[in-house]
Symmetry: D2
């Protein structure tokens, strides 16, 4: 199905933030990709090595210069264009790029939702290109691998949604948990706020601090609920509370779920536990980037930061009748740039782990 | 009611850990207390200034030496003895101290529960002095102020329980929330693990890491549920998940609660909101160490670390029908040593803020 | 000599940065000061409690509102005005405040130098009020206590200079070290950069990072060298390298000094060591805020952060013939606001430790 | 010259510490190495995936089990054995491994010195195998590449020495700096202390803390001075002060050096600067793992952590007549395990960057 040669020519629009920088790193080192262009208004004219000294040992970093973003030129140079732009802005670039024939992998929220009305409710402005929502594919390869293969426009999932959907979707599809009453309590490192000069994200404001934000209606709820509803076959409303913690990278999510069957005896706990084990094994045993922990281990962001892996563990609590599921990921890799490259690999027919180990 | 002179003579048993060290600091500087003895097997013979260089500017720190713990001697020297010891060990000291006439303020879990059976279930050994459970007072001054005044044995609450009970008890007593389905999701700084030489708490194992632990049945559940049950008048079972985050100090708790009345229209939200506001005002408007935030502010551990204050904020979510309550405290101050000194102040008839501002 | 009543009426101009915030904390709790005004253009109209939630438990924090800075009004309201402003701006406020009769304690660099030419060399603009340089007193109480008592304009020292001068001046005055070849290698926490919205000081840019800056000619060199020259009686040129490390607060300085006498035998080492011990004892044994460590202890910022203390330790190295002196302080307390309040205490005749323990 | 097939069979003795863990990561992913054995007494019997969950996605991590260290077995299984053991212990394994025909790359200090007397002076015990000192090669590929090619025993340099020697050796060999008066002021992340359960390295003891240690005679001085003396042709004594800072990884070193020629005029500064530029270009322009920064950039550990690169920058200070050279490296990569793998690559004739990009 792939119509891509190797190396595929790729470009990054908006390569000055944390996700863009990580895309640069991944694509400079990708065995089947040739990074032909990086754009950034503020960095235009400078080399990748000048802006990101840590990549300066890569020969291409000293040759490749940031350019002003120009959709027509990008579509000529590249087969696939990654957009690492704020929501609203991303759509403005996606339209001409698609028209000019490029495949677009968008890391923003602009094409993640199917409903322009929900977009307006959560993002407070009209969707700039509602006609594209139907054709975009939600870039979660573990769920939409087949659709990604032929896609022209991939909406790479948000960082929190990835940490919530991967642990939840198989259980919901299998009818193991109810679609009601779901609570997701998440903690994110500060890179999730982007490389923005704001007092709230200064070192001294974040270090030795923990705080919730976006309570009770964070924007990521919209795509989480839409994807959960698709899996459940009914509308789903969840509770989601993000917290900011003093780490550079990493998201940890603790999910409170209600199994559909009761369990209080040891036999019931064991039987339900086996169903959960089997469900996750069916979903993820062959997935290179999902690791379901065994034994006493619990997810720890330090075990996934720097990788494209999501760790998952679960516990049944017969005292409360709840299933607790915990996950950990690198918010910039599996939560953003790594997942986008994983989609590139799927799309182009490369080994899915190419450039991601 | 107080039978204590000022300054009251105080001693600390087990003053080498983080809570003990903070007790030393608070009591060295307390205007109505005279720290007459500090004990520690490992530090015996050394001065406070040698063990804790940061207190070396306090003249008494160079005169006061750590001694071996000796209950009889302590009861002669001090009117009030603080126990900053592991559970199980604390009870062994409490018994002779009480017999010798000292008042005991115990920071361990040994006397927090009323039920020796629950103690055995959660702490995995028989209670060493079950006959004392009936006489001990749970040292949460905002709730048990009157009982603390005449107490001989005060069981100072755990750090997590304080962060959960203060936001929850008034709502439960007022019938605003149901006693069922309560979830408490907490994050704690690493000082909560104590000054123990264990690989899990090394800098490199905690920094750039977040992880849950004690899932789903942490020991603190026992005292939380007992206190909630007293307030609700019915047994209460809650879900509690603690997480370890890379800060020295601070606990943040996010509570998911179910109001007893429905709210979906703006008028219902406003009416219920007013009930909550009034409930917290009645409970805490006069309390020096509870701060209910207004407007858009949310609790942040950096605003309470170094103080004896608990910050509380709340949000109603008409989408889910839940009430979210968030709290922040310093786990070593309001969560341990500060609260113990607050109990001393209540007990001895000193101004409650003495030595705590 | 003091003409100040107690409580002295004090005001803070520019109370929105880290030093200003710490001044607010110290002066709200000072037993002999009444904080009557705090100014900040950006926060004008809001209460101290709104801007600094961590002080919200102090009753005055809910009554005191930030105002626009107005020198004439401030001089009427306050006896002493603290300036926590950028250099260049501070001088503009100092002039009318002094004319209107207020005593000024300036935390900026504007009045620390005696030479307007050196100011221009290091700060790249003409001094705004060169006529005031002669009358200003360098606010290092351990050195200029007598002069501070009668001063109308106190230039509070920089954070790095304090950490370098206190360990060095007694040795230089006693002729124990040479005035040549001095090297000061310092590390500072990020609060030293101020509460400025700049990408360089974002959490993710500072965490897990160490870097030097201002190499080889940092602005603080000017006041360090001027003070060393006064002590030595000859011009002094030193090497100073500041580094930024991921802590909120704290400065650690390692000084490389050349003793005037040779030492290679054990007897010579002992004799010189005794001279150094005696020199520091003569200088600091009675000082409440300088702690010369004994035995194997070395300075650690965690033992001084939150206090107004400088820790000092030293080692003779017979292999190299050098004397290594190390110091640690809280850059916002002894390095800025604490030292300014110490000067207030000296100036007003209060106990020097008032409000600083 | 290489007698090694690809993949070369490699083993790691003592793979439970931070350096050992990093060796596991590097060698699992090395394109020309086959990791056939990892040993650890405490982990014997468990898989690599169980001990290091972060490598669990690598298929071999679930098959490879830790074994008890057995020199004879290791020498049969592996062509090259890495020793990640404490000093003193390493030598005990090196002897039988060498006798059995294995090539040994030792990360400890045991074979870095040529003089058994200096070893005894700095390590406080007799060298266990002084006869091997003559045949070992100091594993700094940028300096000893030719010797590494034929070596049977490679002593991989210490973390601090690497950060000091690479910036200094070319200048010393070229006669640009004097061999006297050298000062190296270094800061290291906490991983340098190893994965040891000691109170001093607990999170709460290191976070928000900076402190010097090993003043004035740290063990690493011995190998630094020996290597400097070889380059200078005369004995060299330097001043070295290490500091512990709250980062997981990274070493930053600031070097104070004395150029042999005077420079005060702009022309002299420019001429000397050109000599330094040329000297570093001659030494390192072709080196993949040394990056000499240009323009205003200064080394920052965050730009090298996770890589095998050393960053170097320098400044001439005509005020003091000194040359300041700054370096940054990852203490576990270029300072330990990365450098050891680089030596493997040189030794075996692989591309030097294999497995290190």
């Amino acid at each position: 199905m792939s119509t891509f040669r190797s190396p595929v020519r790729v470009a990054i629009v908006g390569a000055s933030g944390y996700s863009g920088e990580e895309l640069v790193r991944l694509l400079l080192n990708h065995p089947h990709a040739d990074l032909v262009a990086v754009t950034s208004r503020q960095n235009a004219g400078q080399t990748v090595a000048q802006i990101f000294p840590k990549f300066a040992s890569h020969p291409k970093s000293r040759a490749l210069r940031f350019s002003e973003p120009d959709a027509a030129a990008l579509a000529r140079q590249a087969d696939v264009v990654f957009l690492a732009l704020p929501h609203g802005v991303a759509a403005e670039y996606a339209i001409p790029l698609l028209q000019a024939g490029a495949v677009v992998i968008d890391l923003s929220a602009d094409f993640r939702l199917k409903s322009a009305a929900v977009y307006r409710e959560f993002y407070a402005h009209d969707h700039p290109a509602p006609e594209l929502l139907a054709q975009s594919v939600y870039g979660l390869p573990e769920v939409y691998r087949a659709q990604i293969r032929g896609a022209r426009l991939i909406a790479s999932p948000g960082c929190y949604p990835t940490s919530i959907l991967l642990p939840t979707l198989p259980l919901l599809k299998a009818g193991i948990i109810r679609p009601t009453g779901i609570i997701a309590d998440s903690m994110s490192g500060v890179s999730g706020a982007g490389r923005k000069a704001e007092v709230d994200y200064l070192f001294c404001e974040c270090n030795e601090s923990v705080r919730a934000y976006g309570v009770p209606k964070h924007r990521h709820l919209s795509e989480i609920e839409e994807q959960l509803a698709i899996a459940a076959g009914v509308p789903v409303t969840i509770q989601f509370t993000p917290h900011l913690i003093p780490v550079n990278r990493g998201i940890h999510t603790t999910l409170y779920l209600a199994p559909t069957e009761n369990f209080s005896t040891a036999a019931e706990v064991a039987a339900l536990g086996q169903r959960i084990t089997d469900c996750y094994a069916a979903a993820y045993a062959q997935e290179p980037f999902v690791r379901v922990l065994e034994g006493k281990a619990l997810p720890d962001t330090k075990n996934v930061v720097g990788t494209n892996v999501v760790e998952i563990a679960w516990r049944l609590d017969p005292r409360t009748g709840r299933l607790i599921v915990l996950s950990a990921e690198d918010n910039i890799l599996k939560g953003a740039s790594g997942q986008a490259v994983q989609s590139l690999n799927v799309l182009a027919g490369f080994p899915e782990i190419a450039g991601l180990l």
